[in-house]
Subunit: 439 residues, 2 copies
C-alpha cells in the first residue's frame, strides 16, 4: 500500500547503538530503515552530533532497557519518501492543507531535523509549540531510532524536516547559505535553537519589555496603554545573568547579544556564570571575537564571565535588587536556586535545563514576595528554525569553523572512534564532537 | 521645618486596632496622624474595607506583636499635605520631575490609595512595578498604620495616591465617574486591580498570544516574525481555568471577560472552580447579569462554575491536553498543584494567591516536561490603576450596588460593629464588609 521512491537501498547500514545498562555504545550493522508510514522520509546522514543530553541515556540515568540507535542531531539528504508526498505521486497532501513539504519535498533535498518529531498539524504545532507536538518522538530514544547512523527514518517528515532551500532572500542570500558547512547546520538540530529560545523567551516576557521599549508595565496591546502614566521609563540599565556555559549557554549568550543589538539596546550589563575557568575563557574569547567584527557595538555596556561567588556579589552590589532576567541553562536544583537568588523583584527566570525529579527549592512565599516569573521547558526547534537560521548565517564568525579556539565544535570523527569519544565527552575531556558516518 | 496645611486637626480619632496574639480587634481613640515627612498626606477616610488578607494578621498567622491600626483598603479626602506639595508652597516638587501629584494635589481632593505605598520614583516604580517599590510599605501592618480609622497618614503620597479627578475623557465621562459610589471606588484599593492583574498577566503572556492574535509562537516584535511560517493559526478555542472564587477570583473572571471581549475574542471556554456551591452560584449570577446587559456577546463560548472534581474531568476530556491558561487565586499548595494538573503543555499559570512557606509541589522534570510558565506575586495596584478604573466605570452592573444578589460588597457598617463583623467574616458567615468610620 505504501508507495515509496527509494534511491538507495542497501540491506544494512552502520549505526551507534546504546546497550543497557550504561556506558556501553557499539557501532553495529543494522537493517536499513524503511518507509513505514506514508508520511515518512528516509534521510542519508551527512553529519550527526554528540550532545550533552545524550549522556543522560549513556550514563543509565533513565530507566531504559531497549537497545537503540543513539543521537538526535543530524543533517543529511532525503533518499526516500512515503506515498503522501506529491513527489512520489501523493495527491492528497497538497489539497488537504497539510504542511507544504508534503507537496514540495523531493529525493535529493538537503534537510536538517529538529531533535524531536513534530507533525505540524496538531494544535500545539499550529500554535508554534512544536516541541510539545501531540505526536512528538525524541530521536535516539527507545521510541525512535536516532541519527548517529548512516540512515534514519523521519516520521511526519513533512512537518518535522526543514529543507535548506526554503530560505527567503531577506533572511540570507542564497550564496551565503550555500557556504554554510554541515557542521554549522548541525547546530540547528538542538543547541543553537535552544540557546536562542532561552534568550528570546527571556526578552519577550512582558516584565522585561519596559527596559526594551520604554513603556512602563503593563503596557500591552490588549488593554489601553497606561493613559495617565506620568512617569516615562528612564534609560535604565538592562541586567541579565546567564547560568551555565556549556554549548547551550554559549548559544544563549550569542543569541542574547544578537537580539539586543538588533533592537537597538546597547545599554546592558550581562554576566555569564560558570564554575569552570576554561568555559569562562571560551565565552570571553567569543564575545571579543564578535566585538572585533562589530567595532561600533558595546559603547556603554559590560559583559563579564564570572564564577558563582562573584556572580552573587555582582547581583547585590549595584542596585541591591538583582538581575532583571536570568537564563538557567544547567538543569539542577542548585542552578535554579542560584537563578532565584540573582533575580530582582518582578524579574524573569527562563530555564532551558533538563530538570530531574526534585521539587523546586523556592518556597511559594518567596515566589510571591519577589513577583517572579518562570518559564520552563524544551525548545520548539521546528517553530523557531527560520529565526535561528537567520542568526546562524550572520554569526559565522562564531559558528563557522571547526576546531578553532572559539568553535563550538571540537572535532569531526568517524564511527570507529565513537566509543572513545563518548567516553572522553562523558569525562569532560573533549568539547562537542560530530560523527561523519562515512569517514 | 515641615510646613503643613491642616484643615481639621482633632486631638484623637477612632481606629480599629489589632492586638496580639490573635482574634482581638478593638475600636480605640488614638492620636491624630501628623505629617511626619514633607511627602506625606493625611487622608480623611470615607470608607474602609475588610479584606480576606486582613485575616492573616487577625488570626495570628504572622509573627507580629505590635498593636496597630488594621486595614489596607480606603477611599477618602485629603485634609493635610507635607511641605513638598506645591499647594502648600513647596517649589522643589514641580521642578524636579517628581510625580505630578506633588504639583497638583490639594486639600479637599478625593483620592483612592493602593494597599501599599509606592514612591513613583524608584526603578521598580518607574517601570510599572509599584508593588515592589523600593520604599514599599503595607497599610495596616506593624510598619504602617492602616485605613480602618477616621484618618490615615499616607507616605510618599504624590507617588502613592490616585486622585479621582485625574481621569481622561476617553476613559470615562466626568458624569459617569462622579456617579461612582465610594463603595465602588474602594474596590480599586486591592481586589479589583488584583483580579485584573491576574487576567491581564495571563492573557499577555507570549505563550497565549497565538490564541489571541493568530500568529504562531514565538511571534514577536523583537525578532523577525516567522518568515517561513506556513501554518496560520486556526481559530482554536481558548481555554482558561480559574481556581478560587473569593472576591479576587470574581474580579479576575469579570476582568478576563472584559479583556477578551474588548479584543474581539468570542471563542473561549472558561471554567471557574470553587468547592463552595454558594460561590459558584454567585459567579454564575454575575456572568448571566453581564450577558443580559450585553446580549450580543458569547455567541460561541462556554462558561461554567464547577467543583474541583468536575474541573479535572473537563481538563482531560476535550482535547486531553488541559487548559491554555490557569489563574490561581487562592494561595496554597493544593491550589497550585491543581493549576499544574489542569494546564496544558506550553500553558501559563498566573498565581496571585499569597503563598506560605512550603516549596512548590511540582518536580522540576514535570515543569520542563510541560514547558509551563508561572507568574507569581502581588498586583502593582498603582501602576494598573487607570486600566482598572476604566473597567470599574464600565462594569457598574457588577460593581455598582451594595447588598444585591451579585454585589461584591455585602454591607456597610459602623466601627461599633467592627468586632462582630471581623468574627463573622473570619468564619465565612458574611461577604465583604466595608466600614464607615463616621456612622
Amino acid at each position: 500500500m505504501t508507495e515509496t521512491k527509494q534511491q538507495e537501498s542497501p540491506k544494512t547500514h552502520r549505526a551507534v547503538r546504546w546497550h543497557p545498562p550504561s556506558y556501553d555504545v557499539r557501532v553495529e550493522d543494522v537493517p536499513f530503515p524503511k518507509v513505514e508510514h506514508p508520511d515518512d522520509a528516509i534521510v542519508k546522514i551527512a553529519l550527526a552530533g554528540l550532545c550533552g543530553s545524550d549522556l543522560h541515556i549513556y550514563r543509565g540515568h533513565d530507566v531504559i532497557t531497549k537497545v537503540h540507535t543513539s543521537g538526535h542531531e543530524f543533517v543529511g539528504e532525503v533518499v526516500a519518501l512515503g506515498s503522501n508526498f506529491l513527489a512520489v505521486g501523493g495527491e492528497q497532501a497538497a489539497s488537504n492543507g497539510r504542511p507544504v513539504l508534503y507537496s514540495t519535498l523531493k529525493v535529493g533535498d538537503r534537510v536538517v531535523s529538529p531533535f524531536t518529531v513534530s507533525c505540524g498539524e496538531c494544535r500545539p504545532c499550529r500554535q508554534g509549540f512544536s516541541s510539545r507536538c501531540a505526536r512528538s518522538l525524541l530521536f535516539g530514544s527507545p521510541a525512535l531510532e536516532g541519527g548517529q547512523a548512516q540512515y534514519v527514518r523521519v516520521p511526519y517528515a513533512g512537518g518535522t524536516l526543514f529543507r535548506l532551500d526554503d530560505i527567503k532572500p531577506d533572511l540570507a542570500t542564497e550564496s551565503r547559505l550555500t557556504t554554510l558547512a554541515d557542521s554549522s547546520l548541525l547546530l540547528l538540530a538542538d543547541i543553537l535553537p535552544t540557546g536562542y529560545f532561552a534568550a528570546l523567551q527571556l526578552l519577550q516576557h512582558p516584565k522585561l519589555l519596559p527596559l526594551l521599549g520604554g513603556n512602563p508595565y503593563p503596557h500591552t496591546t490588549l488593554a489601553l496603554s497606561n493613559p495617565v502614566g506620568e512617569a516615562a521609563t528612564s534609560k535604565d540599565l538592562l541586567s541579565i545573568a546567564l547560568i551555565g556555559l556549556g554549548p547551550v549557554g554559549i548559544c544563549a549568550v550569542v543569541s542574547l547579544l544578537d537580539l539586543l543589538w538588533k533592537n537597538g539596546i546597547s545599554y546592558y550589563r550581562i554576566i555569564a556564570i560558570d564554575p569552570h575557568e576554561q568555559r569562562r575563557n571560551l565565552i570571553k574569547a567569543i564575545y571579543n571575537k564578535i566585538l572585533d567584527a562589530n567595532p561600533t557595538l558595546n559603547q556603554k555596556s559590560t559583559f563579564e564571565a564570572v564564577d558563582i561567588e562573584t556572580a552573587k556579589q555582582r547581583g547585590f552590589s549595584a542596585d541591591n535588587a538583582g538581575f532583571d532576567g536570568v537564563i538557567e541553562a544547567v538543569g539542577n536544583t542548585s542552578a535554579i536556586s542560584l537563578a532565584f537568588d540573582l533575580v530582582r523583584p518582578f524579574g524573569v527566570i527562563t530555564s532551558v535545563g533538563v530538570h530531574q525529579d526534585q521539587p523546586l527549592p523556592m518556597p511559594g512565599r518567596a515566589l510571591y514576595g519577589k513577583n517572579v516569573s518562570l518559564d520552563f521547558g524544551r525548545c520548539p526547534v521546528r517553530s523557531v528554525f527560520p529565526l535561528v537560521l537567520d542568526l546562524l548565517v550572520r554569526r559565522q564568525d562564531v559558528f563557522g569553523e571547526v576546531g578553532t579556539e572559539t568553535s563550538l565544535v571540537d572535532r569531526i570523527v568517524g564511527f570507529d572512534e565513537a566509543k572513545v569519544y563518548y567516553d572522553l565527552f562523558d569525562k569532560g575531556k573533549c568539547g562537542k564532537v560530530l560523527f561523519d558516518p562515512w569517514k
